[in-house]
Symmetry: C2
Subunit: 323 residues, 2 copies
Protein backbone atom coordinates (compact mmCIF):
# COMPACT_ATOMS: atom_id res chain seq x y z
CA UNK A 1 0.00 0.00 0.00
CA UNK A 2 1.28 3.44 -0.89
CA UNK A 3 2.84 5.44 1.91
CA UNK A 4 0.73 8.61 2.03
CA UNK A 5 2.84 10.45 4.58
CA UNK A 6 4.61 13.52 3.23
CA UNK A 7 8.36 14.04 3.07
CA UNK A 8 7.90 16.67 5.80
CA UNK A 9 6.44 13.97 8.05
CA UNK A 10 9.16 11.46 7.22
CA UNK A 11 12.13 13.88 7.33
CA UNK A 12 15.37 13.74 5.36
CA UNK A 13 17.00 10.93 7.32
CA UNK A 14 13.84 8.82 7.12
CA UNK A 15 13.71 9.46 3.38
CA UNK A 16 17.32 8.39 2.95
CA UNK A 17 16.62 5.18 4.89
CA UNK A 18 13.54 4.50 2.74
CA UNK A 19 15.57 5.02 -0.45
CA UNK A 20 18.24 2.66 0.85
CA UNK A 21 15.59 -0.01 1.41
CA UNK A 22 14.14 0.50 -2.08
CA UNK A 23 17.62 0.17 -3.60
CA UNK A 24 18.19 -3.03 -1.67
CA UNK A 25 15.28 -4.53 -3.65
CA UNK A 26 17.39 -4.39 -6.82
CA UNK A 27 20.53 -6.40 -7.55
CA UNK A 28 23.86 -4.95 -6.39
CA UNK A 29 26.62 -5.74 -8.91
CA UNK A 30 30.02 -6.85 -7.65
CA UNK A 31 31.49 -3.70 -9.22
CA UNK A 32 29.92 -1.63 -6.45
CA UNK A 33 32.51 -1.67 -3.64
CA UNK A 34 30.88 1.03 -1.51
CA UNK A 35 27.23 1.87 -2.20
CA UNK A 36 24.69 4.22 -0.65
CA UNK A 37 25.36 5.33 2.92
CA UNK A 38 28.88 6.73 2.99
CA UNK A 39 30.30 10.10 1.90
CA UNK A 40 30.84 8.76 -1.61
CA UNK A 41 30.39 5.53 -3.56
CA UNK A 42 33.26 3.42 -4.85
CA UNK A 43 32.75 1.58 -8.14
CA UNK A 44 35.14 -0.66 -10.05
CA UNK A 45 36.26 0.65 -13.44
CA UNK A 46 38.14 -2.32 -14.92
CA UNK A 47 39.27 -0.36 -17.99
CA UNK A 48 40.82 2.39 -15.85
CA UNK A 49 38.72 4.98 -17.71
CA UNK A 50 35.34 6.05 -16.37
CA UNK A 51 32.63 7.38 -18.68
CA UNK A 52 30.34 9.84 -16.88
CA UNK A 53 27.37 12.05 -17.75
CA UNK A 54 24.69 14.00 -15.89
CA UNK A 55 21.19 14.87 -17.03
CA UNK A 56 18.30 16.47 -15.20
CA UNK A 57 14.51 16.34 -15.34
CA UNK A 58 12.41 19.19 -14.00
CA UNK A 59 8.71 19.00 -13.27
CA UNK A 60 6.61 20.97 -15.73
CA UNK A 61 9.42 21.02 -18.30
CA UNK A 62 10.51 17.39 -18.66
CA UNK A 63 7.59 15.60 -17.04
CA UNK A 64 4.18 16.06 -15.48
CA UNK A 65 2.97 13.96 -12.58
CA UNK A 66 -0.49 13.69 -14.14
CA UNK A 67 0.96 12.35 -17.41
CA UNK A 68 3.54 9.89 -16.08
CA UNK A 69 3.68 7.64 -13.03
CA UNK A 70 6.48 8.02 -10.49
CA UNK A 71 7.87 4.72 -11.76
CA UNK A 72 7.86 6.02 -15.36
CA UNK A 73 9.62 9.22 -14.32
CA UNK A 74 12.29 7.30 -12.42
CA UNK A 75 12.88 4.98 -15.36
CA UNK A 76 13.10 7.87 -17.81
CA UNK A 77 15.48 9.91 -15.64
CA UNK A 78 17.89 6.99 -15.45
CA UNK A 79 17.44 5.98 -19.10
CA UNK A 80 18.34 9.50 -20.25
CA UNK A 81 21.67 9.48 -18.46
CA UNK A 82 22.52 5.85 -19.19
CA UNK A 83 21.82 6.49 -22.86
CA UNK A 84 24.62 9.07 -22.85
CA UNK A 85 27.00 6.43 -21.48
CA UNK A 86 25.88 3.94 -24.12
CA UNK A 87 26.43 6.54 -26.85
CA UNK A 88 30.15 6.53 -25.98
CA UNK A 89 30.18 2.79 -26.55
CA UNK A 90 30.28 1.92 -22.84
CA UNK A 91 28.06 -0.08 -20.50
CA UNK A 92 26.53 1.86 -17.61
CA UNK A 93 27.47 0.43 -14.22
CA UNK A 94 26.26 2.90 -11.61
CA UNK A 95 23.81 5.75 -11.15
CA UNK A 96 23.53 8.56 -8.59
CA UNK A 97 20.54 10.85 -8.12
CA UNK A 98 20.15 14.31 -6.66
CA UNK A 99 16.48 14.67 -5.76
CA UNK A 100 15.02 18.07 -4.86
CA UNK A 101 11.38 17.80 -3.87
CA UNK A 102 8.59 19.77 -2.23
CA UNK A 103 8.07 18.89 1.44
CA UNK A 104 4.42 17.99 0.77
CA UNK A 105 5.31 15.26 -1.74
CA UNK A 106 4.03 11.81 -0.75
CA UNK A 107 6.61 9.33 0.50
CA UNK A 108 4.94 6.62 -1.61
CA UNK A 109 5.54 8.66 -4.75
CA UNK A 110 9.27 8.91 -4.02
CA UNK A 111 9.38 5.20 -3.23
CA UNK A 112 7.89 4.39 -6.64
CA UNK A 113 10.29 6.83 -8.30
CA UNK A 114 13.27 5.07 -6.74
CA UNK A 115 11.91 1.66 -7.70
CA UNK A 116 11.63 2.94 -11.29
CA UNK A 117 15.23 4.14 -11.18
CA UNK A 118 16.47 0.84 -9.78
CA UNK A 119 14.44 -1.05 -12.40
CA UNK A 120 15.87 0.88 -15.34
CA UNK A 121 19.42 0.61 -14.01
CA UNK A 122 18.96 -3.15 -13.65
CA UNK A 123 18.16 -3.42 -17.40
CA UNK A 124 21.91 -3.14 -18.01
CA UNK A 125 23.06 -4.59 -14.68
CA UNK A 126 23.73 -1.17 -13.16
CA UNK A 127 22.78 -0.04 -9.65
CA UNK A 128 21.85 3.12 -7.78
CA UNK A 129 24.92 3.83 -5.62
CA UNK A 130 24.43 7.28 -4.17
CA UNK A 131 22.65 10.57 -4.16
CA UNK A 132 21.48 13.61 -2.33
CA UNK A 133 18.07 14.85 -1.21
CA UNK A 134 16.91 18.36 -0.50
CA UNK A 135 13.69 20.30 -0.14
CA UNK A 136 12.82 22.52 -3.12
CA UNK A 137 9.62 24.15 -4.38
CA UNK A 138 10.19 22.60 -7.82
CA UNK A 139 10.56 18.83 -8.13
CA UNK A 140 13.86 18.16 -9.90
CA UNK A 141 15.91 15.05 -10.54
CA UNK A 142 19.54 15.16 -11.58
CA UNK A 143 20.93 11.76 -12.54
CA UNK A 144 24.61 10.97 -12.95
CA UNK A 145 25.48 7.75 -14.77
CA UNK A 146 28.87 6.05 -14.82
CA UNK A 147 30.27 3.34 -17.03
CA UNK A 148 33.56 1.64 -17.66
CA UNK A 149 34.97 2.53 -21.08
CA UNK A 150 35.43 -0.21 -23.65
CA UNK A 151 38.82 -0.63 -25.37
CA UNK A 152 37.77 2.32 -27.47
CA UNK A 153 35.31 5.13 -26.83
CA UNK A 154 33.23 6.44 -29.70
CA UNK A 155 32.83 10.22 -29.72
CA UNK A 156 30.91 12.58 -31.98
CA UNK A 157 34.09 13.49 -33.80
CA UNK A 158 35.06 10.48 -35.90
CA UNK A 159 32.59 10.48 -38.84
CA UNK A 160 34.36 10.32 -42.22
CA UNK A 161 33.27 11.07 -45.78
CA UNK A 162 32.03 7.80 -47.29
CA UNK A 163 30.70 6.42 -44.01
CA UNK A 164 27.07 5.34 -43.81
CA UNK A 165 24.74 7.00 -41.30
CA UNK A 166 22.71 4.54 -39.25
CA UNK A 167 20.18 4.69 -36.46
CA UNK A 168 19.06 2.19 -33.80
CA UNK A 169 15.78 2.84 -32.01
CA UNK A 170 12.72 4.97 -32.69
CA UNK A 171 12.62 8.51 -34.05
CA UNK A 172 9.82 10.93 -33.25
CA UNK A 173 7.63 8.62 -31.18
CA UNK A 174 8.39 10.38 -27.88
CA UNK A 175 7.51 13.73 -29.48
CA UNK A 176 4.33 12.26 -30.94
CA UNK A 177 3.43 10.82 -27.53
CA UNK A 178 3.98 14.19 -25.90
CA UNK A 179 1.72 15.82 -28.53
CA UNK A 180 -0.97 13.22 -27.78
CA UNK A 181 -0.76 13.85 -24.02
CA UNK A 182 -0.74 17.63 -24.58
CA UNK A 183 -4.09 17.34 -26.32
CA UNK A 184 -5.60 15.44 -23.41
CA UNK A 185 -5.48 11.96 -24.95
CA UNK A 186 -3.87 8.83 -23.48
CA UNK A 187 -3.76 6.68 -26.65
CA UNK A 188 -2.20 5.11 -28.64
CA UNK A 189 -0.13 3.50 -25.95
CA UNK A 190 2.81 2.86 -28.31
CA UNK A 191 3.37 6.60 -28.71
CA UNK A 192 2.50 7.70 -25.19
CA UNK A 193 4.80 5.04 -23.73
CA UNK A 194 7.68 6.30 -25.87
CA UNK A 195 7.35 9.67 -24.14
CA UNK A 196 6.90 8.19 -20.69
CA UNK A 197 9.66 5.56 -20.73
CA UNK A 198 12.18 5.67 -23.58
CA UNK A 199 13.94 2.40 -24.37
CA UNK A 200 17.49 3.27 -25.39
CA UNK A 201 19.07 0.47 -27.46
CA UNK A 202 21.81 -0.16 -24.88
CA UNK A 203 23.01 -3.43 -26.42
CA UNK A 204 23.24 -1.88 -29.88
CA UNK A 205 25.75 0.65 -28.53
CA UNK A 206 28.23 -2.04 -27.52
CA UNK A 207 27.70 -3.89 -30.78
CA UNK A 208 28.38 -0.64 -32.64
CA UNK A 209 31.80 -0.25 -31.02
CA UNK A 210 32.70 -3.80 -31.88
CA UNK A 211 31.57 -3.25 -35.49
CA UNK A 212 33.82 -0.21 -35.88
CA UNK A 213 31.44 2.73 -35.51
CA UNK A 214 33.35 5.92 -36.30
CA UNK A 215 31.02 8.25 -34.38
CA UNK A 216 27.94 7.90 -32.19
CA UNK A 217 25.45 10.16 -30.44
CA UNK A 218 22.34 9.79 -28.30
CA UNK A 219 19.40 11.35 -30.18
CA UNK A 220 17.98 13.54 -27.43
CA UNK A 221 17.76 17.00 -29.03
CA UNK A 222 16.13 15.72 -32.25
CA UNK A 223 17.64 13.93 -35.27
CA UNK A 224 18.59 17.08 -37.18
CA UNK A 225 20.11 18.80 -34.16
CA UNK A 226 22.05 15.70 -33.14
CA UNK A 227 23.20 14.90 -36.68
CA UNK A 228 24.37 18.53 -36.70
CA UNK A 229 26.39 17.92 -33.52
CA UNK A 230 28.16 14.97 -35.19
CA UNK A 231 28.70 16.87 -38.44
CA UNK A 232 30.25 19.87 -36.66
CA UNK A 233 32.43 17.76 -34.34
CA UNK A 234 33.60 15.63 -37.27
CA UNK A 235 33.93 18.42 -39.85
CA UNK A 236 31.63 16.68 -42.35
CA UNK A 237 28.21 17.00 -43.96
CA UNK A 238 25.53 14.44 -43.16
CA UNK A 239 23.01 13.73 -45.91
CA UNK A 240 19.86 11.97 -44.70
CA UNK A 241 17.54 10.03 -47.04
CA UNK A 242 13.97 11.02 -46.26
CA UNK A 243 12.46 7.82 -47.63
CA UNK A 244 14.33 5.78 -45.01
CA UNK A 245 12.80 7.86 -42.22
CA UNK A 246 9.16 7.29 -43.14
CA UNK A 247 6.89 4.30 -42.64
CA UNK A 248 6.04 4.46 -38.93
CA UNK A 249 2.31 3.95 -39.42
CA UNK A 250 1.24 4.74 -35.81
CA UNK A 251 3.19 7.97 -35.86
CA UNK A 252 2.06 9.00 -39.34
CA UNK A 253 -1.59 8.24 -38.59
CA UNK A 254 -1.40 10.38 -35.45
CA UNK A 255 0.28 13.20 -37.38
CA UNK A 256 -2.64 13.21 -39.85
CA UNK A 257 -5.13 13.07 -36.96
CA UNK A 258 -3.59 16.04 -35.22
CA UNK A 259 -2.83 17.98 -38.42
CA UNK A 260 0.91 17.91 -37.73
CA UNK A 261 3.69 17.39 -40.29
CA UNK A 262 5.20 14.05 -39.23
CA UNK A 263 8.63 15.41 -40.18
CA UNK A 264 8.42 17.78 -37.22
CA UNK A 265 8.46 14.79 -34.88
CA UNK A 266 10.83 12.58 -36.87
CA UNK A 267 13.46 15.24 -37.52
CA UNK A 268 12.91 17.62 -34.62
CA UNK A 269 11.61 15.46 -31.77
CA UNK A 270 14.05 14.56 -29.05
CA UNK A 271 13.79 12.18 -26.11
CA UNK A 272 13.48 8.91 -28.03
CA UNK A 273 17.09 8.21 -27.07
CA UNK A 274 17.78 6.40 -30.31
CA UNK A 275 21.45 6.02 -31.24
CA UNK A 276 22.81 7.72 -34.35
CA UNK A 277 26.09 6.21 -35.54
CA UNK A 278 28.35 6.29 -38.55
CA UNK A 279 30.09 3.18 -39.92
CA UNK A 280 32.64 2.70 -42.70
CA UNK A 281 31.15 1.47 -45.99
CA UNK A 282 32.54 -2.04 -45.48
CA UNK A 283 31.46 -2.43 -41.84
CA UNK A 284 29.31 -5.35 -40.73
CA UNK A 285 26.73 -3.10 -39.07
CA UNK A 286 24.75 -4.70 -36.22
CA UNK A 287 21.16 -5.68 -37.03
CA UNK A 288 19.70 -3.17 -34.55
CA UNK A 289 20.73 -0.35 -36.89
CA UNK A 290 19.06 0.80 -40.11
CA UNK A 291 20.75 2.97 -42.70
CA UNK A 292 19.35 6.50 -43.01
CA UNK A 293 22.00 8.42 -44.96
CA UNK A 294 25.63 9.01 -45.72
CA UNK A 295 28.55 11.18 -44.67
CA UNK A 296 29.94 13.64 -47.24
CA UNK A 297 32.91 15.92 -47.35
CA UNK A 298 32.14 19.42 -46.02
CA UNK A 299 32.83 21.50 -49.11
CA UNK A 300 33.29 24.99 -47.70
CA UNK A 301 32.64 27.18 -44.70
CA UNK A 302 29.21 27.95 -46.12
CA UNK A 303 28.08 24.37 -46.61
CA UNK A 304 25.14 23.02 -44.69
CA UNK A 305 26.11 20.48 -42.08
CA UNK A 306 22.94 18.41 -42.39
CA UNK A 307 21.07 17.81 -45.65
CA UNK A 308 17.96 15.84 -46.49
CA UNK A 309 18.10 14.22 -49.92
CA UNK A 310 20.94 16.58 -50.81
CA UNK A 311 19.10 19.77 -49.87
CA UNK A 312 19.28 22.04 -46.84
CA UNK A 313 16.95 20.88 -44.07
CA UNK A 314 14.40 23.47 -43.04
CA UNK A 315 12.32 21.82 -40.31
CA UNK A 316 12.54 22.83 -36.64
CA UNK A 317 15.82 21.85 -35.06
CA UNK A 318 14.55 20.53 -31.75
CA UNK A 319 14.10 21.84 -28.25
CA UNK A 320 16.33 24.52 -26.79
CA UNK A 321 16.06 25.48 -23.11
CA UNK A 322 15.65 29.10 -21.92
CA UNK A 323 14.22 30.19 -25.33
Amino acid sequence: MADERTLAELGEFGLIAMIGEAIAQGPMPASVQVGVGDDAAVVAVPSGRVVVAVDQMIEGRHFRRDWSSANDIGRKAVARSMSDIAAMGATPTAVLVALAAPADLAVGWVHDLVIGMVTEAAVVGAALVGGDTSACDVLTLSVTALGSAADRVVTRAGAKAGDGVWVAGDLGRAAAGLAVLSRGHRQPKSLVSAHRVPEPPYAAALAAVAAGATSMIDVSDGLLADAGHVARASGVTIDLEWATLTGDSDLEAMARNLGVDAATWILGGGEDHALLATFPANANVPAAFRRIGSVKRLKSEESEEVLIDGRAAVVPKGHEHFR
Copy 2:
Protein backbone atom coordinates in the same frame (compact mmCIF):
# COMPACT_ATOMS: atom_id res chain seq x y z
CA MET B 1 32.59 43.70 -18.18
CA ALA B 2 29.70 41.56 -17.01
CA ASP B 3 27.43 40.15 -19.70
CA GLU B 4 24.01 41.54 -18.78
CA ARG B 5 22.02 39.59 -21.34
CA THR B 6 19.65 37.01 -19.88
CA LEU B 7 19.83 33.26 -20.46
CA ALA B 8 16.64 33.64 -22.52
CA GLU B 9 18.49 36.01 -24.85
CA LEU B 10 21.55 33.77 -25.08
CA GLY B 11 19.70 30.43 -25.40
CA GLU B 12 20.79 26.98 -24.23
CA PHE B 13 23.35 26.36 -26.97
CA GLY B 14 24.89 29.81 -26.48
CA LEU B 15 25.06 29.12 -22.74
CA ILE B 16 26.79 25.79 -23.29
CA ALA B 17 29.34 27.47 -25.58
CA MET B 18 29.95 30.19 -22.97
CA ILE B 19 30.48 27.57 -20.26
CA GLY B 20 32.92 25.72 -22.51
CA GLU B 21 34.92 28.92 -22.94
CA ALA B 22 34.93 29.58 -19.18
CA ILE B 23 36.16 26.04 -18.53
CA ALA B 24 38.93 26.49 -21.09
CA GLN B 25 40.30 29.25 -18.82
CA GLY B 26 41.20 26.63 -16.22
CA PRO B 27 43.82 23.88 -16.54
CA MET B 28 42.74 20.58 -18.11
CA PRO B 29 44.49 17.66 -16.43
CA ALA B 30 45.86 14.84 -18.58
CA SER B 31 43.43 12.49 -16.83
CA VAL B 32 40.55 14.07 -18.78
CA GLN B 33 40.43 12.09 -22.03
CA VAL B 34 37.09 13.48 -23.26
CA GLY B 35 35.83 16.70 -21.65
CA VAL B 36 32.81 18.92 -22.16
CA GLY B 37 31.08 18.67 -25.55
CA ASP B 38 30.31 15.01 -26.11
CA ASP B 39 27.55 12.75 -24.78
CA ALA B 40 29.69 11.88 -21.77
CA ALA B 41 33.13 12.65 -20.37
CA VAL B 42 35.92 10.09 -20.13
CA VAL B 43 38.32 10.38 -17.20
CA ALA B 44 41.29 8.21 -16.29
CA VAL B 45 40.94 6.24 -13.04
CA PRO B 46 44.43 4.80 -12.55
CA SER B 47 43.41 2.76 -9.51
CA GLY B 48 40.56 1.07 -11.40
CA ARG B 49 38.12 2.23 -8.68
CA VAL B 50 36.24 5.49 -9.06
CA VAL B 51 35.00 7.41 -6.02
CA VAL B 52 31.87 9.43 -6.82
CA ALA B 53 29.42 11.66 -4.95
CA VAL B 54 26.70 14.17 -5.81
CA ASP B 55 25.53 17.15 -3.80
CA GLN B 56 23.12 19.94 -4.65
CA MET B 57 22.65 23.58 -3.71
CA ILE B 58 19.26 25.25 -4.02
CA GLU B 59 18.65 28.98 -3.97
CA GLY B 60 16.94 30.15 -0.81
CA ARG B 61 17.91 26.97 1.05
CA HIS B 62 21.67 26.61 0.53
CA PHE B 63 22.55 30.08 -0.71
CA ARG B 64 21.20 33.55 -1.40
CA ARG B 65 22.39 35.68 -4.30
CA ASP B 66 22.40 38.78 -2.08
CA TRP B 67 24.64 37.07 0.49
CA SER B 68 27.16 35.33 -1.77
CA SER B 69 28.69 36.20 -5.13
CA ALA B 70 28.25 33.89 -8.11
CA ASN B 71 31.92 33.01 -7.79
CA ASP B 72 31.46 32.11 -4.10
CA ILE B 73 28.44 29.94 -4.90
CA GLY B 74 30.33 28.11 -7.65
CA ARG B 75 33.30 27.50 -5.37
CA LYS B 76 31.07 26.25 -2.55
CA ALA B 77 29.04 23.93 -4.78
CA VAL B 78 32.21 22.24 -6.00
CA ALA B 79 33.89 22.23 -2.58
CA ARG B 80 30.90 20.43 -1.04
CA SER B 81 31.10 17.55 -3.50
CA MET B 82 34.89 17.35 -3.63
CA SER B 83 34.95 17.25 0.17
CA ASP B 84 32.94 14.02 0.01
CA ILE B 85 35.58 12.52 -2.29
CA ALA B 86 38.36 13.65 0.04
CA ALA B 87 36.54 12.09 3.01
CA MET B 88 36.99 8.67 1.38
CA GLY B 89 40.73 9.33 1.24
CA ALA B 90 40.76 10.07 -2.48
CA THR B 91 41.81 13.03 -4.62
CA PRO B 92 39.06 14.62 -6.71
CA THR B 93 39.86 14.62 -10.43
CA ALA B 94 36.71 15.73 -12.24
CA VAL B 95 33.47 17.58 -11.64
CA LEU B 96 30.16 17.72 -13.53
CA VAL B 97 27.36 20.20 -12.93
CA ALA B 98 23.64 20.12 -13.63
CA LEU B 99 22.49 23.74 -13.63
CA ALA B 100 18.78 24.59 -13.58
CA ALA B 101 18.22 28.33 -13.78
CA PRO B 102 15.50 30.91 -14.40
CA ALA B 103 15.47 32.24 -17.97
CA ASP B 104 15.87 35.82 -16.70
CA LEU B 105 19.19 35.08 -14.95
CA ALA B 106 22.07 37.20 -16.26
CA VAL B 107 24.63 35.45 -18.44
CA GLY B 108 27.41 37.24 -16.55
CA TRP B 109 26.23 35.69 -13.29
CA VAL B 110 26.45 32.17 -14.76
CA HIS B 111 29.86 32.99 -16.21
CA ASP B 112 31.13 33.98 -12.76
CA LEU B 113 29.55 30.86 -11.26
CA VAL B 114 31.40 28.63 -13.72
CA ILE B 115 34.67 30.49 -13.10
CA GLY B 116 34.15 29.85 -9.36
CA MET B 117 33.58 26.15 -10.03
CA VAL B 118 36.67 25.89 -12.24
CA THR B 119 38.71 27.78 -9.61
CA GLU B 120 37.72 25.47 -6.75
CA ALA B 121 38.30 22.35 -8.86
CA ALA B 122 41.76 23.63 -9.77
CA VAL B 123 42.68 23.80 -6.05
CA VAL B 124 43.17 20.03 -6.22
CA GLY B 125 44.04 19.81 -9.93
CA ALA B 126 40.54 18.73 -10.94
CA ALA B 127 38.53 20.03 -13.88
CA LEU B 128 34.94 20.60 -14.93
CA VAL B 129 34.29 17.90 -17.53
CA GLY B 130 30.57 17.90 -18.21
CA GLY B 131 27.13 18.94 -17.24
CA ASP B 132 23.59 19.75 -18.20
CA THR B 133 21.60 22.98 -18.32
CA SER B 134 17.88 23.50 -18.11
CA ALA B 135 15.40 26.26 -17.42
CA CYS B 136 13.75 26.10 -13.97
CA ASP B 137 11.93 28.62 -11.78
CA VAL B 138 14.26 27.78 -8.88
CA LEU B 139 18.01 28.15 -9.33
CA THR B 140 19.60 24.80 -8.47
CA LEU B 141 23.06 23.35 -8.85
CA SER B 142 23.79 19.66 -8.63
CA VAL B 143 27.50 18.85 -8.61
CA THR B 144 28.97 15.40 -9.15
CA ALA B 145 32.60 14.91 -8.16
CA LEU B 146 34.81 11.98 -9.15
CA GLY B 147 38.14 10.81 -7.82
CA SER B 148 40.46 7.90 -8.21
CA ALA B 149 40.58 5.74 -5.08
CA ALA B 150 43.84 5.41 -3.20
CA ASP B 151 45.19 1.93 -2.36
CA ARG B 152 42.64 1.95 0.41
CA VAL B 153 39.38 3.86 0.82
CA VAL B 154 38.39 5.08 4.28
CA THR B 155 34.69 4.67 5.04
CA ARG B 156 32.59 5.62 8.06
CA ALA B 157 32.65 2.07 9.29
CA GLY B 158 36.16 1.37 10.58
CA ALA B 159 36.39 3.23 13.91
CA LYS B 160 37.57 0.96 16.74
CA ALA B 161 37.46 1.26 20.52
CA GLY B 162 40.73 2.81 21.66
CA ASP B 163 41.12 4.99 18.55
CA GLY B 164 41.51 8.73 18.95
CA VAL B 165 38.97 11.07 17.34
CA TRP B 166 40.55 13.88 15.37
CA VAL B 167 39.38 16.79 13.26
CA ALA B 168 41.00 18.87 10.50
CA GLY B 169 39.45 22.20 9.60
CA ASP B 170 37.04 24.57 11.30
CA LEU B 171 33.91 23.69 13.28
CA GLY B 172 30.94 26.03 13.52
CA ARG B 173 32.36 28.98 11.61
CA ALA B 174 30.07 28.49 8.59
CA ALA B 175 27.04 28.34 10.90
CA ALA B 176 28.24 31.45 12.73
CA GLY B 177 28.73 33.22 9.40
CA LEU B 178 25.23 32.29 8.34
CA ALA B 179 23.86 33.65 11.62
CA VAL B 180 25.74 36.91 11.03
CA LEU B 181 24.35 37.24 7.50
CA SER B 182 20.84 36.34 8.70
CA ARG B 183 20.94 39.31 11.04
CA GLY B 184 21.88 41.68 8.23
CA HIS B 185 25.58 42.01 9.06
CA ARG B 186 28.54 41.38 6.74
CA GLN B 187 31.31 41.16 9.39
CA PRO B 188 33.52 39.63 10.68
CA LYS B 189 34.83 38.45 7.34
CA SER B 190 36.46 35.33 8.87
CA LEU B 191 33.03 33.95 9.80
CA VAL B 192 31.06 35.18 6.79
CA SER B 193 33.69 33.76 4.42
CA ALA B 194 33.43 30.37 6.09
CA HIS B 195 29.75 30.29 5.11
CA ARG B 196 30.35 31.64 1.60
CA VAL B 197 33.35 29.52 0.59
CA PRO B 198 34.29 26.59 2.80
CA GLU B 199 37.88 25.41 2.59
CA PRO B 200 37.87 21.62 2.96
CA PRO B 201 41.28 20.33 4.10
CA TYR B 202 41.79 18.27 0.92
CA ALA B 203 45.47 17.53 1.56
CA ALA B 204 44.78 16.37 5.11
CA ALA B 205 42.47 13.67 3.73
CA LEU B 206 45.24 12.03 1.73
CA ALA B 207 47.65 12.34 4.65
CA ALA B 208 45.04 10.68 6.88
CA VAL B 209 44.87 7.60 4.64
CA ALA B 210 48.64 7.31 4.64
CA ALA B 211 48.70 7.65 8.44
CA GLY B 212 46.26 4.78 8.88
CA ALA B 213 42.93 6.54 9.57
CA THR B 214 40.35 3.89 10.50
CA SER B 215 37.30 6.00 9.56
CA MET B 216 36.66 9.41 8.07
CA ILE B 217 33.68 11.66 7.32
CA ASP B 218 33.06 15.11 5.86
CA VAL B 219 31.47 17.26 8.59
CA SER B 220 28.53 18.67 6.65
CA ASP B 221 25.52 17.88 8.86
CA GLY B 222 27.18 19.13 12.06
CA LEU B 223 29.80 17.53 14.32
CA LEU B 224 27.35 15.62 16.53
CA ALA B 225 25.30 14.33 13.59
CA ASP B 226 28.38 13.29 11.63
CA ALA B 227 30.11 11.73 14.65
CA GLY B 228 26.83 9.84 15.07
CA HIS B 229 27.04 8.57 11.47
CA VAL B 230 30.55 7.21 12.16
CA ALA B 231 29.50 5.72 15.52
CA ARG B 232 26.50 3.93 14.01
CA ALA B 233 28.39 2.68 10.93
CA SER B 234 31.27 1.46 13.12
CA GLY B 235 29.20 0.13 16.02
CA VAL B 236 31.02 2.25 18.60
CA THR B 237 30.51 5.19 20.94
CA ILE B 238 32.37 8.44 20.29
CA ASP B 239 33.22 10.52 23.35
CA LEU B 240 34.13 14.14 22.56
CA GLU B 241 36.10 16.35 24.96
CA TRP B 242 34.38 19.72 25.15
CA ALA B 243 37.52 21.61 26.21
CA THR B 244 39.21 20.68 22.91
CA LEU B 245 36.34 22.22 20.95
CA THR B 246 36.47 25.68 22.52
CA GLY B 247 38.88 28.57 21.99
CA ASP B 248 37.77 30.00 18.63
CA SER B 249 37.74 33.61 19.83
CA ASP B 250 36.01 35.12 16.74
CA LEU B 251 33.25 32.56 16.95
CA GLU B 252 32.82 32.82 20.72
CA ALA B 253 32.77 36.62 20.65
CA MET B 254 30.06 36.56 17.98
CA ALA B 255 28.06 34.00 19.97
CA ARG B 256 28.11 36.35 22.99
CA ASN B 257 27.19 39.31 20.73
CA LEU B 258 24.21 37.52 19.27
CA GLY B 259 23.18 35.82 22.51
CA VAL B 260 23.70 32.36 21.02
CA ASP B 261 25.22 29.34 22.79
CA ALA B 262 28.46 28.77 20.84
CA ALA B 263 27.94 25.02 21.26
CA THR B 264 24.98 25.26 18.86
CA TRP B 265 27.36 26.27 16.10
CA ILE B 266 30.31 24.08 17.08
CA LEU B 267 28.33 20.88 17.63
CA GLY B 268 25.32 21.44 15.37
CA GLY B 269 26.57 23.62 12.53
CA GLY B 270 27.24 21.94 9.21
CA GLU B 271 28.84 23.23 6.04
CA ASP B 272 32.34 23.85 7.37
CA HIS B 273 33.42 20.70 5.55
CA ALA B 274 35.98 19.83 8.17
CA LEU B 275 37.17 16.22 8.22
CA LEU B 276 36.44 14.02 11.19
CA ALA B 277 38.69 10.96 11.37
CA THR B 278 39.66 8.22 13.79
CA PHE B 279 43.23 6.96 14.18
CA PRO B 280 44.73 4.12 16.20
CA ALA B 281 46.38 5.22 19.47
CA ASN B 282 49.89 4.70 18.06
CA ALA B 283 49.28 6.48 14.71
CA ASN B 284 51.48 9.34 13.60
CA VAL B 285 48.53 11.65 12.96
CA PRO B 286 49.11 14.40 10.35
CA ALA B 287 49.65 17.91 11.73
CA ALA B 288 46.44 19.23 10.12
CA PHE B 289 44.40 17.23 12.66
CA ARG B 290 43.74 18.05 16.32
CA ARG B 291 42.48 15.51 18.81
CA ILE B 292 38.92 16.06 20.06
CA GLY B 293 37.95 12.76 21.69
CA SER B 294 38.15 9.01 21.75
CA VAL B 295 36.32 5.94 20.51
CA LYS B 296 34.75 3.66 23.11
CA ARG B 297 33.06 0.31 23.00
CA LEU B 298 29.29 0.55 22.51
CA LYS B 299 28.10 -1.08 25.73
CA SER B 300 24.53 -2.01 24.93
CA GLU B 301 21.64 -1.30 22.58
CA GLU B 302 20.64 1.57 24.82
CA SER B 303 24.00 3.32 24.88
CA GLU B 304 24.39 6.78 23.42
CA GLU B 305 26.40 6.85 20.23
CA VAL B 306 27.92 10.26 20.84
CA LEU B 307 28.91 11.60 24.26
CA ILE B 308 30.47 14.86 25.38
CA ASP B 309 32.81 14.43 28.35
CA GLY B 310 31.20 11.08 29.00
CA ARG B 311 27.62 12.35 29.07
CA ALA B 312 24.78 12.25 26.55
CA ALA B 313 24.93 15.21 24.19
CA VAL B 314 21.77 17.30 24.22
CA VAL B 315 22.41 20.12 21.73
CA PRO B 316 20.66 20.34 18.35
CA LYS B 317 21.84 17.67 15.94
CA GLY B 318 22.16 19.78 12.78
CA HIS B 319 20.06 20.55 9.77
CA GLU B 320 17.54 18.11 8.35
CA HIS B 321 15.78 18.81 5.05
CA PHE B 322 11.97 18.65 4.67
CA ARG B 323 11.43 19.21 8.44
